[in-house]
């Protein structure tokens, strides 16, 4: 689809205002229905038996005792799923991985891998029945660390998983290889006054959404089914569930519940096919709700990473060459986003010589899932830490150095393509001008700066807008609202239609109502569903103008639409009183029928996004505890449709990034079992850990959207790992190279430095 030639940059009536959120009352009164809130007549409760071993061959499963327990209505294992899976567009090779992850086949590949499931008349009976299932395991050697997983002699997770991109001679656990860049890095390093090279590591973290995975599945012997679930993409869930259960896609209707957080983690199918398989066997609806421990053990998390960064810089701060090698572990399946880590790491900079290499590595851990800008935060941590260290060594200002090397309009990006309108320089200028940056630090405090980049995405999008007789509008979108999209859709439609925001209701339609919609991911919803909403509203306006033209007896082209009124376009069009939308919709049944607007397309003009964060931190040298004193997020939003939600996205990204930087980590024992699978042991930041996070919305309009929108949901988590690490390192006086920077790790770094 071509870019819009009618980019509107100013003169907005509704866009850019801050009306109340449409789902606010439902959510504060408990009226909103989340994944676990749905019930159905005759409903059973499902539970999943999970492997206690990190790697084990399943020699046999005896379910007879569980089946004999009173109240148990069905037990399923892998034998209840098809031997082969259907191919679906855009899913080459992935369907088998999904099925294998949903229910283990010959081997359990990680602690928490599903091996069997039960449906019973109560959740308690279902859990009791799990204890009666006897699984005969042959425990196999395991590996959970990324560097060890690709070392010679490491246990092979699954032979033959590597694709043809992987160079010969690498361990079979290395399953994808990425290399990109331009110029000659060795020649660039030779021109540098200072070359620094170091290794950085990050642990896996979980998306940490408050709502656990939950669903209610109904599937009859006739192959017709219904699924209610918490998801970022119900059309995708429909496609995947149909494929792994051998159904026709259109016979499974999927409805998305309200969603209590996703952050990428609910783009992946984990247990919904199990609910449907149990339902098919029991001929009753089956509800399944994960415990928090199951969420940690068997869903999410991010990849863990081990990264080597080498940068050359002249005395004046010009980067002469940059090289990054990124090894990412994404669990027992291909898919760690090493390619994105590689492409994003140096993206904020205009570099003459750059080379980036990524390795996607399998290990005995849960299948990684996307987490806001998947892969990018880890790379930014490594790259931005080295740049900070070099600024310190050369006595240079970290913002000036970033400005000197910043990617600009017309820069050839580190991964190849040449950018058009981008906001990295505007963000850095805003950082420089912000009072936070010039505020003196107190004794024991350190300041950190870091930039970050994310691509953003378009994707298949279908929107329908129906006008009511009273001139109000109902909009159906197919992208679950994970960040306030119902409000932003209503604002954009209000702008086109010229009717109040409050007169528009936006609904997340089920899979039977609209054409295919890509998942709510890639910061795409305000961009792509927003673009489609604008176009659907414009489609409706054309029809409204046509009705007015017919009544006036003039050509539709001689009618304009302004502020909710059809008007003659000029004196030559004739003299008619402006006709309000309510006058047209009130009699639309008698002037040609109901008026609706539609738009279906795959918008491909998502603008890339940059952000830079400023952090002040204080480190207690006695305990190693870090306090975040002050935090400012500066990010390019293109155009903020509802600025409060944009600020919320910025703050949320920073808060999650602070957790990733300071405390969150997956801790595995020697036995390969996850040691901290509840929130008491896996510490996410709470309100008392955080300062008020200040935000600055930079607006460099994206020419690929009618109002200039860029996605904002993901970029906000890219800089904070590095920004916090730079602040902590500057406060502590020692460079922290491994996340999380937990108190014991900081104390050790301080002790090592003292020698």
């Amino acid at each position: 689809m071509a870019l819009d030639d009618d980019l509107k940059k100013d003169g907005f009536t509704f866009v850019g205002t801050r009306p109340k959120r449409p789902d606010g009352l439902d959510k504060v009164t408990g009226r909103a229905k989340f994944g676990a809130d749905m019930v159905a007549p005759g409903m059973l409760h499902g539970a999943i038996l999970r492997s206690p071993h990190a790697h084990a061959r399943i020699k046999g499963i005896d379910t007879s005792k569980a089946e004999a327990l009173e109240g148990v209505k069905a037990v399923v294992t892998r034998a209840d799923f098809p031997d082969t899976v259907q191919h679906k567009p855009g899913m080459a090779g992935e369907m088998w991985n999904v099925l294998e992850n949903v229910m283990a086949g010959e081997k359990a590949l990680y602690d928490g891998h599903a091996v069997a499931a039960v449906a019973a008349t109560s959740a308690l009976i279902a859990k009791d029945a799990l204890k009666l299932i006897e699984v005969d395991y042959e425990v196999l050697p395991h590996v959970t660390d990324v560097d060890k997983a690709m070392a010679e002699g490491a246990p092979v997770i699954r032979e033959g998983s590597a694709d043809r991109s992987v160079p010969e001679g690498l361990h079979p656990n290395v399953v994808r290889y990425h290399e990109s860049g331009h110029g000659d890095v060795e020649a660039g390093f030779a021109k540098a006054d200072l070359v620094m090279e170091d290794t950085y590591k990050t642990e896996a973290t979980h998306q940490g959404y408050i709502e656990p995975h939950a669903c209610l599945g109904m599937l009859g012997a006739d192959g017709k089914g219904e699924l209610w679930c918490t998801t970022q993409g119900h059309f995708y869930f429909q496609k995947v569930c149909a494929a792994v259960l051998g159904l026709e896609t259109s016979q499974l209707r999927v409805t998305a519940s309200e969603i209590g957080g996703g952050f990428g983690g609910k783009t992946t199918v984990f247990m919904e096919p199990v609910s449907l398989a149990l339902s098919r066997k029991a001929n009753r609806p089956v509800k399944m709700v994960m415990s928090r421990s199951e969420v940690f053990r068997a869903t999410g998390p991010t990849a863990s990473a081990s990264m080597d960064i080498k940068i050359g810089m002249t005395k004046d701060g010009t980067i002469t060459a940059a090289k990054g090698t990124y090894r990412l572990q994404g669990g027992a399946f291909p898919g760690a986003p090493a390619d994105f880590t590689a492409m994003c790491g140096f993206a904020p900079y205009c570099l003459e010589n750059v080379l980036q290499i990524g390795y996607d590595v399998m290990a005995n851990r849960p299948k990684q899932a996307a987490y806001r800008a998947p892969g990018a935060p880890m790379g930014a941590f490594a790259v931005e830490s080295v740049i900070d260290e070099m600024c310190n060594k050369l006595g240079l200002d970290p913002v000036e150095v970033r400005l000197k090397n910043a990617a600009r309009d017309g820069t050839k990006s580190s991964y190849g393509p040449t950018w058009d309108a981008i906001g990295q320089v505007a963000c850095l200028e805003a950082v420089k001008a912000h009072p936070h940056y010039s505020t003196p630090l107190k004794e024991g405090q350190g300041r950190g700066i870091a930039s970050g980049f994310w691509f953003n995405h378009g994707g298949e999008t279908s929107v329908s807008l129906a006008l009511s007789e009273d001139g109000t509008a109902q909009i159906s979108v197919g992208t679950p609202d994970i960040g306030g999209s119902r409000a932003s859709m209503a604002l954009m439609a209000a702008e086109v239609l010229g009717i109040p925001y409050e007169n528009i209701r936006v609904t997340i339609a089920d899979t039977a109502t609209l054409g295919y919609n890509d998942v709510s991911h890639g910061s795409r919803v305000t961009y792509a569903s927003g673009l489609a909403t604008i176009k659907a509203a414009r489609d409706a306006v054309e029809k409204l103008k046509g009705r007015a033209a017919a009544e006036w007896g003039i050509d539709p082209d001689a009618v304009t639409w302004e502020d909710g009124y059809a008007k003659p376009s000029g004196p030559n069009a004739g003299e008619f009183e402006p006709m309000h939308i309510t006058k047209i919709t009130g009699k639309m049944g008698r002037t040609g029928g109901p008026i609706s607007g539609h738009f279906e397309a795959t918008p491909e003009g998502a603008g890339v996004s940059f952000g830079t964060h400023i952090v002040d931190a204080e480190v207690d040298p006695e305990t190693g505890k870090t306090s975040i004193i002050r935090y400012t997020v500066v990010q390019d939003a293109g155009k903020a449709i509802h600025p409060t939600y944009v600020e919320g996205q910025f703050q949320g990204g920073a808060a999650q990034g602070i957790g990733w930087a300071l405390n969150e980590e997956y801790i595995y024992g020697e036995d390969g079992r996850l040691q901290n699978s509840i929130f008491l042991d896996y510490r996410i930041p709470v309100a008392s850990d955080l300062p008020m996070i200040d935000t600055v919305i930079v607006e460099v309009p994206n020419p690929g959207h009618p109002y200039g929108v860029r996605g904002v949901g993901e970029t906000g988590i890219v800089p904070p790992l590095a920004a916090v690490a730079n602040a902590v390192s500057n406060a502590a006086g020692v460079r922290l190279k491994e996340l999380p920077m937990s108190p014991p790790r900081i104390l050790k770094a301080l002790k090592d430095q003292k020698g």
Partner: protein, 84 residues
């Protein structure tokens, strides 16, 4: 006559194109370009079906096969984008 376009490949794909970093094909749209690439290098076909996004003049086209190309288009094949 379709324009002759130059396509930049990422390193992982070069193993499938006899090491070529850029490939020239005749194509007026992204779809025609992918078809021509698969015809010239059959080993690429599996990748092209599901695993690539295409950057044209700095914009990443995840799926649009109809997007027009010209001889001056800057074209990069990229691994398919997935987000959170």
């Amino acid at each position: 006559m379709k324009p002759r376009v130059t396509v930049h490949l990422w390193a992982g794909l070069r193993a499938l194109t006899d090491g070529a970093e850029t490939v020239e094909v005749e194509a007026a749209t992204i779809g025609q370009m992918l078809y021509a690439l698969a015809k010239a290098y059959p080993a690429l076909e599996d990748y092209l079906e599901d695993n690539v996004s295409v950057s044209v003049d700095g914009r990443i086209m995840a799926t649009d096969l109809t997007h027009p190309l010209t001889e001056t288009s800057e074209i990069y094949l990229m691994q398919r984008l997935r987000g959170g």
